[in-house]
């Protein structure tokens, strides 16, 4: 297997708010290997974005980050400002969710991509920079690149703008691309195109790709391995196939059960009842316990740690019996 490019250990993020702290990320261990596509899945507020933003020092000033995250063996948490800045956009590229607002409206897109290059290669001659911009636009499959360079963001459609964002992120051939909900703001048809562009880029440059999303469909299409996050923790992780077909955590199973499927027409979708716990008032035991159908007494008292069960790692006391118990309950209901 390839060497580990990014490794987080016991990474935690707290936001200081009036009257206490919100524990957005609580001890996350994630490994990303060179050339691999890792999906991080979870609902809003599960800490999936905060985990990745914490690495790059992009969180709001009221955030406190602890634990460790090393990139190529370099510790990033608490690293000097200048060192992080050199990593951002240089060896780590970032693609944001909303291409409508993430581009500067008063600069041409070519100018903005050029800036990403100039920041990291200040000695490059302007002509070479512009040639590279055009090349990048062609790489992300924008037709007529030499003309599009001179367009302003409002002259481009959402999909085009997201391509521009991707071009900015990969301008300096990063080793790691972090895509934070890259397709959420786009039409379904465009989503597929953007994912294809990202996957193409990854295989071309052998960089690693982390896709943060709430959309299991996105993950199923492109990821090699998946981390499922809930209430600031990774509750289950494993190879994508295993996670979809042999998952062990009731939350993962619940997420998959509430997806509409073509082969279960006419049947009601099964939402997960309840709501996630408040991150400033977490229960003592498992964070999922109040919504779990198969919870046992010990689930209320002891927070489960990740452990290997079958082909996946799961943080659940009841596993491996949990998902089979849920299936049995479903059979009884039917």
């Amino acid at each position: 297997m390839n060497e580990v490019l990014l490794q987080t250990r016991d990474l935690g993020v707290e936001f200081a708010v009036s009257g206490g702290a919100v524990h957005a990320v609580r001890g996350v261990d994630i490994d990303v290997r060179r050339g691999e596509v890792v999906g991080i899945v979870g609902e809003s507020g599960s800490g999936k974005s905060a985990t990745m933003l914490a690495l790059l020092g992009l969180l709001a000033p009221n955030a406190k980050v602890h634990g460790s995250a090393s990139f190529n063996g370099i510790e990033m948490i608490g690293a000097p400002h200048e060192q992080l800045r050199a990593l951002r956009g240089g060896r780590i590229g970032m693609v944001f969710q909303d291409p409508m607002t993430s581009l500067n409206p008063v600069l041409t897109v070519g100018r903005q991509i050029a800036e990403a290059i100039e920041v990291h290669q200040p000695t490059l001659r302007p002509k070479r920079v512009m040639a590279r911009v055009q090349e990048l636009l062609e790489v992300v499959a924008i037709p007529n690149a030499s003309e599009r360079m001179r367009a302003y963001p409002h002259e481009l459609s959402g999909g085009m703008r997201q391509r521009v964002m991707i071009a900015m992120a990969v301008a300096n051939d990063p080793e790691l691309i972090i895509a934070d909900e890259p397709t959420t703001a786009l039409d379904v048809t465009i989503q597929a195109q953007i994912l294809t562009v990202l996957a193409d880029l990854r295989s071309r440059t052998n960089s690693a790709l982390v896709i943060i999303t709430h959309d299991l469909g996105v993950v199923a299409g492109v990821a090699d391995r998946v981390n499922v996050m809930y209430a600031g923790r990774v509750v289950e992780r494993g190879p994508v196939e295993e996670l979809f077909y042999r998952n062990q955590h009731p939350y993962t199973a619940g997420l998959l059960a509430c997806l509409p499927r073509l082969d279960t027409r006419g049947r009601d979708l099964e939402p997960i009842g309840g709501a996630p716990p408040l991150l400033d008032h977490l229960p003592k035991g498992c964070a999922f316990v109040s919504r779990c159908k198969v919870a046992e007494p010990r689930c209320h008292d002891v927070d489960p740690q990740l452990r290997d069960v079958g082909t996946v790692s799961v943080a659940c006391h009841v596993a491996p019996a949990a998902t089979s118990a849920m299936k049995a309950m479903k059979a009884v209901d039917a």
Binding site: L56, L58, R85, A86, L87, R88, G89, G90, G93, M94, F96, D98, M100, T101, S102, L103, N104, P105, V106, L107, T108, E115, A116, V119, H120, P143, N144, E147, R148, R150, A151, Y152, H154, E155, L156, S157, G158, G159, M160, M165, M168, A169, A171, D187, T189, I190, Q193
Partner: protein, 297 residues
């Protein structure tokens, strides 16, 4: 600013992108607004006066050239003052006093205020607190009162008046720019600039300031008129230009002594009205033209 193709399914449809002709068109659109056109024309006339008046003015502004206190007539269009000087000539020369000082005051105030305001908004923390408290303290005084106090402390004269007015005016721009910078700083494209590794200085220069400056530009244009008025007010009170300088406010002071010789005070007053009106129109027009939200509403 929204564009019709946002939801376009066909992502590959080429769209025309011609930024340069567009820019030219918007300039023409700007000039075609009657407010802006009026403002520009009046400003242009006064500019020509300032630059060329010494070639064609009918008389010398400092010399007694006829009988004193003559009402307007064919030789002296706006009459003569108590010393027999031509009022029309003095009004024209007055522009040389008031307008350059207005421009200088606004330019200095914008410069100082912008630097401090941008630093306060962008850096936040103690810089923000110090600058804003200073601004609050300054703005707590009525403008004319503070200007008078400063001018009185430094002694009369246009130079000290200038210093006084800059002290009065910088907080307006500091607050304006600070508010804009804070608003723009939170936009997502700033975060994406951070994520490509741009330095703080670069982000402020290239991404924050260009989007924050509209309000300052509009306000500065309107304030030009206000400074002309304040300069005249200081001179009127004897704290600005000193006699015999042909300054509008000082001329009005002289005119006030001769109540029945109305032309002595009215002529510089009318000149001031045209200038202030022109700057206000220009500022109003600019605000309407630059306020994207209002334009698309």
């Amino acid at each position: 600013m929204t564009v019709a193709d946002e939801s376009s399914v066909d992502d590959f449809q080429p769209q025309p992108a011609e930024p340069d002709p567009g820019r030219k068109r918007s300039w023409r659109k700007l000039v075609r607004r009657p407010q802006i056109a009026f403002g520009l024309i009046v400003c242009f006339i006064w500019l020509v006066v300032i630059l060329t008046v010494h070639w064609w003015a009918p008389y010398d502004p400092y010399e007694s050239v006829g009988d004193r206190l003559q009402p307007p007539n064919g030789d002296f269009w706006f009459g003569t003052d108590a010393l027999g000087r031509d009022v029309f000539t003095r009004v024209l020369y007055g522009a040389r006093q008031s307008l350059p000082i207005a421009v200088a005051v606004i330019a200095s105030a914008v410069l100082i205020g912008s630097v401090l305001g941008a630093a306060a908004g962008f850096l936040g923390g103690w810089v923000d607190r110090v600058v804003m408290r200073l601004a609050d303290v300054t703005m707590a005084f009525p403008a004319i009162l503070l200007a008078m106090a400063v001018a009185a402390a430094l002694g009369p004269g246009l130079k000290n008046g200038f210093i006084a007015m800059v002290i009065v005016w910088w907080p307006i721009y500091a607050r304006l720019l600070r508010a804009q910078v804070i608003a723009v700083k939170q936009r997502e494209h700033i975060e994406s600039a951070v994520s490509i590794g741009a330095t703080q200085g670069r982000i402020l220069r290239k991404h924050v300031l260009p989007l924050s400056f509209t309000g300052v530009l509009v306000n500065a244009t309107m304030d030009l008129g206000q400074v002309v008025l304040l300069t005249a007010s200081l001179s009127f009170l004897g704290l600005g230009a000193l006699p015999p300088a042909p300054e509008w406010g000082a001329m009005i002071t002289e005119g006030a002594k001769y109540f029945y010789q109305w032309w002595i005070a009215v002529a510089p007053g009318v000149a001031m009205v045209t200038v202030v009106l022109a700057f206000n129109f220009l500022g109003d027009g600019l605000r309407d033209a630059l306020d994207v939200k209002a334009a698309t509403r």
